[in-house]
């Protein structure tokens, strides 16, 4: 599974992209966030307030209970500020 980070989530995690292999009981976006939080202090800092983190699976917005699969591109980022 490829995980991408943008904006201050990337700054906190320290990388823009990483390949992860969460255990089999990590099946939703929310579970992935919880699991990622345990990977490093940077991850913990990035996800410490999950309510303000947005997620996209394969470039479409996804909610916390959306299912994830091994081949997905999962992105985490703050609320967007374009335009």
């Amino acid at each position: 599974m490829k995980v991408l980070y943008f904006s201050w989530l990337r700054d906190r995690v320290g990388v823009a992209e990483e390949a992860v292999q969460p255990p089999g009981d990590v099946t939703t976006v929310a579970e992935l966030m919880t699991w990622l939080t345990q990977q490093s202090d940077g991850h913990a800092e990035a996800f410490k307030d999950p309510a303000i983190v947005r997620c996209a699976i394969n470039q479409d917005y996804a909610k916390a209970d959306a299912p994830i699969s091994a081949g997905d591109e999962v992105a985490f980022f703050p609320p967007v500020t374009g335009g």
């Binding site: 904006s7 470039q59 980022f77 500020t81 374009g82 335009g83």
Partner: protein
């Protein structure tokens, strides 16, 4: 038409291209967003727009399709820049053409409201030697929300 680019754009040429040869179209509504020199904590010296390549184009294309489905439009144009920009620089151009001016106006406002809340861009402001990520505005969510029930 969707364009995501670092280069600046020529508003006159872009709008003219949109209606060229389309003499049944009488209305061209457009919006240009510019970098303001006013940031939360002080005077802004520059702004860097980060985006999510691929997802940006995908979201903007969905936005274009949704506008074309909701209003009797001829064409839709969205150009959004990324990279480092200075105060006064052009960030975004949205336009909608129609034979009905109300449709052109509404669709153009819709495009901007949704773009602000859905297109994956993030602004990093440079103010007094410091760089800060811009927080999302609640007002933008409210503006986008009105299109969920209204036509």
């Amino acid at each position: 038409m969707i364009k995501v680019q670092t280069d600046d754009f020529d508003v006159g040429a872009e709008l003219a291209a949109l209606s060229r040869g389309r003499t049944e179209v009488g209305a061209v509504a457009s919006f240009i967003g510019l970098v303001r020199d006013v940031a939360g904590p002080g005077e802004l010296s520059a702004m860097t727009l980060e985006h999510y390549p691929g997802m940006t184009e995908r979201q903007l294309a969905q936005l274009e399709a949704e506008a074309l489905a909701r209003w009797p439009l001829d064409k839709v144009l969205i150009i959004h820049r990324h990279g480092r920009l200075l105060p006064g620089d052009q960030i975004v151009l949205c336009a909608a053409t129609s034979s009905h001016r109300e449709a052109a106006f509404e669709a153009c406002a819709f495009l901007m409201d949704w773009l602000k809340t859905r297109a994956p861009f993030w602004k990093l402001e440079e103010v007094g030697g410091e760089s800060n990520w811009v927080a999302a505005r609640q007002g933008d969510d409210d503006a986008a929300a009105r299109w969920k029930t209204d036509k």
